[in-house]
Amino acid sequence: MPVMTFIEAIRSALHDAMAADDRIMVLGEDVAVKGGVFLATEGLLARFGEHRVIDMPIAECGIVGAAIGASLHGLLPVAEIQFADYIYPAIDQILNEAARFRYRSNGDWSCPIVVRAPCGAGIHGALYHSQSVERLFISTPGIKVVMPSTPFDAKGLLIAAIHDPDPVIFFEHKQLYRLVRGDVPEGIYREPIGKAAVRRSGSDMSVFSYGLMVHHSLTAAEELAAEGIDVEVIDLRTLAPLDREAILSSVKKTGRALIVHEDVLTGGIGGEIAALIAEHAFEYLDAPVRRLASPDLFATPFADPLEEHFMLNPQKIAAAMRDLARY
């Protein structure tokens, strides 16, 4: 099996999926001639032509709205928002339109679009090129939110998202693009949307995370293992709908839960997960449910020391794990 970086896996998913199904089209800012600012869509224009790989004007509402329109005619559009920080102008189209087409037409119409958006900090992106915004998308029924952490999942989940009958928002942490490598099958395969994955099995506490933070949590878990604390690390992979089953069964086993995400603490998805646990696994809990998140800022400031201070890392996560284990 070839070894790929995360971004190569995304590109591979798009190439393979588009080759296999000519209903798939890609549209976004700089996606065609340039191949995307992160080169996620490189090579697609040459291979699939300008009618299926479309450089769009700077109009996020238009990009997502056009994807919706194309999907109504049976296409499977993959829209790119250049940075998650610029998804706000498309929120009306995502939450008020795409999410509701099927419901509001009583099943007559549907919107099988994918919206890809690179997100996350740690690459000197400052206030407007490093936001985590997934919290804004997990609370509106009708859409699904996916955020892979490995190249294997990136490809398998992206292909699944493209063929999913519902709109899927697909967040890709920019720092993962070139950071992680892994085995990625050639050709088409799908990972299930809505299913979490156990990345490390453990008995002393459950850590729920996704995206870049899964890797930091695993590093921290190894550190804790050396101290005799056995941490289970769950990669949520899909943020909406959450895999409640996986969350609850893990915490029922370990009795302790730590949620780790880069998105803000207050109002972040950690609250929802903690609430689920507090309500449905109350009697199994040996300690309070803990959340570890970036400081309650909307994104990292630019200055290096501030960015470093802002970012979660294995050390901070290990400290939170230790703290919870000690409770």
Partner: protein
Amino acid sequence: MEPNDTPPHIRLGLSRQRLIAGLRIMIASRETDDRLWLLNRQGLAHFVVTAAGHEATQLGCAWAIRVGHDYVIPYYRDMTLVMALGQSVLDILLHAMARRDDPSSGGRQMFGHYSSRRLRIVSGSSSVGSHLVHAAGLGLAFRARGEQGIAVMGLFGEGATAEGAWHEGLTIAGIHQLPVVFVCENNQYSISVPLHREVPVPDVAMKAAGYGMQGVVVDGNDVFAVYEAAHQAMERARNGGGPTLLECKTYRLRPHSSADDDRKYRSREEVESWRARDPIKRFEHYLVEHGIITPEEIEALRREVRAEVDAATDAAIAAPWPSVESIADHLYG
């Protein structure tokens, strides 16, 4: 262009049958509108948004559509239009009374949110202006599939043209010269706000210049003028000639909706002056004058329509509600 003295219906090749069917739609629309206001006062329809006054604009547009082939993306005021495309009086009343068999939404959407996949009427939200980007996307889809000869018609009020989403839809359609006809039903108010406070130019069609498309203004109370312009624009779109912004100047003869009181912002004189230009009367007058129908036949038609509206009212009132068990159906596919 043929000489001016050829009557427009002849010049435009509209058969007697089509004209009379059209008149019937207009009348049915107005009668249904009347009925809805009554049902609203009776507490049987929670919300009415009127089509009264817009009938000629909408019928003229409907005539230009190849039903089930072209896509139509209407807005809440397009009752006459969807009736002309194939929704029956009963369909409309089931929709207004939120019954299970409402073909547009199964009783989920407020009145005025027409939809039918079969008729290629695209489901909309209530958010004005948000649907024109879908029109552009359909155009891109045809191109991606190599399909020619299909056009999209997207309709909206002039107030909607201030929305950013509207601009983005037209921008994309203009850049890619997509087969979309953007129809503005300019009734000179967005609820209470008059034209000069909602649109920075006297004619909405002047906006076309910024989108690389043709702008056309017609008298929206003249069904022939609307049809001619809409037909040309749709044909141009189907033939690869790109998008059009078609402005139909008209007036709504009633308050914005059952929640509105228009006396606060429109003088009665203004309303009356437009009542005198009622597009249905005008069409009837034309048809009688050109010997296509007699006043008696019109009366008969009206009676027939009223009977249909009565029957549909009874049927809709008796129709079942959606079941509460179905409340979460179709959230996901």
